[in-house]
């Protein structure tokens, strides 16, 4: 009843091809933007920013990157954390050695560096497919982390190998408080997410999906395989690189290779699996889920335990969280293999015909 598209007809190609053709969608989207840009910074506490919102946004960006590579182009990659590390260290070095560049440009250039590394490690994808490619991307993961630790040039010859990120400034305006970090990250993520959505809708995205579905057939109809795959690697690594730079500058504040370990690659992969592979919204949903879940469990489990008078010690409670985490992943894979984004789509479909059942 509320979500009716009837009566909304388009009279130009531009109107027909717009990102949000349905009026209700447009209203919802702009309301969301207003809430997120205006209301949240005004009313939300520092803890929410530092511990929840900023990591959700940063990991959404990385998840969009991985989604482009694995969800749209079908190349399974376990090396996303390595590209994030390249982005973080490139950003540090660019800001250090070229301080006259505006920092936002440095972050984008860091993404470009990550893209170049991504192309280098994406070359095997031309010959290798499936799980073999996943293991090959692990080579990227381990090599990059080792190289960043081993060669002192990357860390500016710091004796400990951990470097504090310089402060962030936006054309002279210092970004130092959690609110400002949040708005800064939000702007970057919004712009890049819109770019990704448009790329996915365009010819580029269709080429990726053709390669994903059956690359031999794609080659037969004339899609250049190597170029498409490398393009997917490059753009995906760009996103991961920018996410890594933001992680180091706006979230943790230090740049350390060990933070970008295999665990983080798996986390990003989980996010897109549970969120929904091949959708941009899935990246956001997955990132929210995996950022909120550990904190939620660490509050909920002790609560339930004390309710039932189970006296577990602290470590046992954490182990129960791990078990629930693993079980939830399996649960979601069984119940909805297309991820939470699919739940959202089903919801929208039901809304269209509501209150009728069919």
């Amino acid at each position: 009843m509320l979500y009716r598209e009837a009566g909304q007809f388009k009279t130009s190609y531009a109107a027909d091809q717009q990102l949000l053709p349905i009026r209700q969608d447009r209203i919802a989207f702009f309301t969301l933007l207003a809430v997120v840009f205006v209301i949240v910074p005004l009313f939300v506490s520092d803890y929410w920013f530092s511990a929840l919102l900023i990591p959700i946004l940063i990991f959404s960006l990385a998840a969009i990157g991985l989604n482009i590579l694995t969800g749209y182009a079908g190349q399974l990659s376990l090396g996303s954390a390595a590209f994030m590390a390249v982005g973080a260290f490139s950003a540090y070095n660019i800001v250090l050695r070229m301080p006259w560049l505006p920092q936002i440009v440095s972050f984008l250039l860091a993404g470009v560096c990550a893209a170049l590394v991504g192309i280098a490690f994406g070359l095997p994808s031309v010959r290798i497919k499936g799980f073999y490619l996943a293991v090959a991307t692990l080579a990227a993961q381990f090599f990059v982390v080792w190289a960043l630790q081993k060669f002192p040039w990357f860390t500016n010859n710091s004796s400990s190998g951990v470097i504090s990120a310089q402060g962030v400034t936006f054309f002279g305006f210092p970004i130092d408080s959690p609110v400002r970090n949040y708005v800064f990250v939000l702007c970057i993520v919004t712009v890049l997410a819109l770019c990704a959505k448009n790329m996915a809708r365009s010819n580029t995205g269709r080429q990726w999906m053709a390669v994903r579905d059956m690359d031999v057939a794609a080659e037969v109809i004339g899609i250049p395989l190597m170029r498409t795959k490398l393009q997917a690697f490059a753009i995906s690594s760009f996103y991961c690189g920018v996410a890594g730079a933001l992680y180091a500058y706006c979230y943790i504040g230090t740049v350390e290779p060990e933070a970008f370990s295999l665990d983080m690659s798996f986390r990003v992969l989980f996010m897109i699996i549970v969120g929904g592979m091949g959708t941009i919204m899935g990246a956001f949903i997955g990132a929210t889920f995996f950022t909120v879940l550990p904190i939620f469990l660490s509050i909920l489990i002790p609560g339930i335990a004390s309710l039932f008078n189970f006296n577990f010690d602290k470590a046992s409670l954490t182990y129960i969280e791990f078990m629930i985490f693993g079980a939830l992943i399996i649960f979601f894979l069984i119940v909805e293999p297309h991820g939470l984004a699919r739940l959202w789509q089903i919801g929208k479909e039901k809304l269209r015909i509501w209150p009728f059942p069919h």
Binding site: S45, D46, Y47, W48, S50, A51, L52, P55, W146, Q149, S159, S160, G161, V162, S164, Q166, D176, Y251, I252, G253, T254, E256, E258, A259, T288, F289, V292, L293, P294, I295, F296, S298, I299, L300, D313, K314, A315, L317, T318, Y319, F322, F332, I334, V335, E336, L340, R342, L343, I346, G347
Partner: protein, 449 residues
């Protein structure tokens, strides 16, 4: 087969649950009215994961000591201590989240933060500076914070890695009757910030003392060390200084046994010298030595804690009582002791009430754990004497060397101080560079009281 229709109800519940979860998680914490009269201490602990076994001991000791002070003396100056633990899993991101969450629970903002983890310390250095909360790094963390003129809120108390490394060299020199010339020392280290830090200082010591230093890295987590120990055997090293952490410690002892390298020629750092490292290695650990900034065993204080908290009505934190008196447990007690002593010193100046960050910071710069004071605290021999000041946030620089005899750690030296003349200028230079890069003007210690 498993179409959307079959699980629709389940899926709807999932969606609802997720929404509720998000709201619950970010809900504002309860007000701190009930803790108005309590000194709330944040405990950022790790009890799971590869470093979990050490963490169980350390944080058990820390919490037990605070509990002990509450029970025996009714708190500090009548103000009871309260605390809350948050699991960081030894990861920087979780550490930041725990810090932010616990910060909101009390006006003390956690009194002082003991991350017991170098990566978490680095991640929190800027945040604690901005929030005006002291961060204490007993024997780990960012070394150049010894210079309090550039780092007013960070305290690497007791001693730091370079001081420990140079103290170990001193010990070896004593063993070789003062002459290390021509000897070969291998430095086997975890390839991380922790492991790389002492290298410059050891190289400087090698020049001064005339020994040959080879550095051999181990990639984390370090369970495979066969190649490294074969190299050591091939180079015919006289001694091995071992800077490991976590599971690689036991692996090192086993790998040394595998190539036939005598364990009594290996000295580890204090993060490679606890029962959690030697017991799993079994026979391979016999003879292995390590540095220690606190001793193990049931010294009078530990015995008293055990009697008070684990007697008739056990309120102690340790599930496994056999760990009481172990190196990690005692380390936790020392951390607790420093915390309580800082509160006491602050109260002596500012009055017997709940102390805030600035007052605790002042106290941390005026700690004086002399022999007499340690005796009053029943902690003689447990930890070295320590005196901090505005310029010296370290306070001690002393370690003892202990040896594993198969069942327990036995001391084989007295307190040895590191090579301050060598180490301090390098650290000061590093602090000056940091100040330049961040645009910080150093404090003038003479002007402050």
């Amino acid at each position: 087969m498993f179409t959307s229709k079959k699980f629709t109800g389940v899926k709807a519940m999932c969606a609802a649950a997720i929404g509720v979860a998000a709201l619950v998680t970010g809900a504002p914490s309860p007000s701190f009215a009930q803790q108005a009269n309590e000194q709330f201490v944040s405990v950022l602990s790790f009890r799971v994961g590869p470093y979990g076994p050490a963490g169980v001991g350390i944080f058990g000791g820390f919490i037990d000591y605070m509990n002990y002070v509450n029970v025996k003396e009714g708190g500090v100056g009548g103000v009871k201590l309260s605390w809350e633990e948050c699991e960081t899993e030894y990861a920087a991101a979780r550490g930041v989240e725990c810090y932010e969450r616990l910060k909101t629970k009390s006006p003390t903002k956690g009194t002082m933060i003991h991350p017991v983890s170098t990566p978490i310390t680095y991640a929190l250095l800027d945040k604690t500076l901005a929030d005006k909360v002291p961060i204490v790094q007993t024997g780990y963390g960012r070394t150049d914070t010894v210079d309090g003129r550039y780092f007013p809120w960070a305290f690497p108390l007791i001693t730091t890695y370079p001081m420990q490394a140079t103290a170990i060299v001193k010990f070896l020199s004593q063993k070789e009757k003062g002459d290390l010339r021509g000897k070969k020392i291998a430095y086997l280290y975890l390839d991380s910030a922790y492991g790389k830090e002492p290298i410059t200082y050891l190289q400087a010591e090698a020049k001064v003392n005339g020994f040959e230093l080879t550095t051999i890295p181990i990639t984390p987590p370090g369970t495979e060390q066969g190649a490294q120990w074969q190299q050591i055997r091939q180079s015919q090293a006289d001694y091995v200084i071992f800077w490991g952490f976590g599971v690689m410690n036991a692996s090192a002892m086993r790998a040394a046994q595998k190539v036939g390298f005598a364990r009594d020629k290996i000295i580890g750092s204090w993060w490679a010298g606890s029962e959690e490292d030697t017991v799993p290695a079994g026979d391979a650990a016999k003879g292995y030595m390590s540095a220690a900034m606190n001793v193990s065993g049931k010294t009078p204080l530990i015995a008293d804690i055990e009697k008070t908290l684990y007697g008739a009505n056990p309120t102690g934190n340790m599930q496994d009582k056999s760990k009481i008196g172990g190196i990690n447990y005692n380390r936790g007690v020392v951390i607790g002791l420093i915390t309580v002593e800082a509160i006491r010193v602050a109260q002596a100046k500012y009055g017997k009430k709940v102390m805030d960050g600035e007052q605790i910071r002042w106290a941390l710069e005026h700690l004086d754990l002399s022999d007499a004071r340690l005796k009053a605290l029943n902690a003689t021999g447990l930890m070295p004497t320590m005196k901090t000041s505005c310029a010296d946030h370290e306070g001690s620089g002393k370690i003892k060397v202990q040896q594993w005899d198969g069942t327990k750690w036995a001391l084989v030296s007295d307190w040895i101080e590191g090579n301050r003349q060598l180490v301090r200028p390098l650290l000061e230079q590093s602090a000056i560079d940091y100040g330049k890069s961040k645009g910080i003007t150093p404090r003038d210690c003479a002007k402050e009281s």
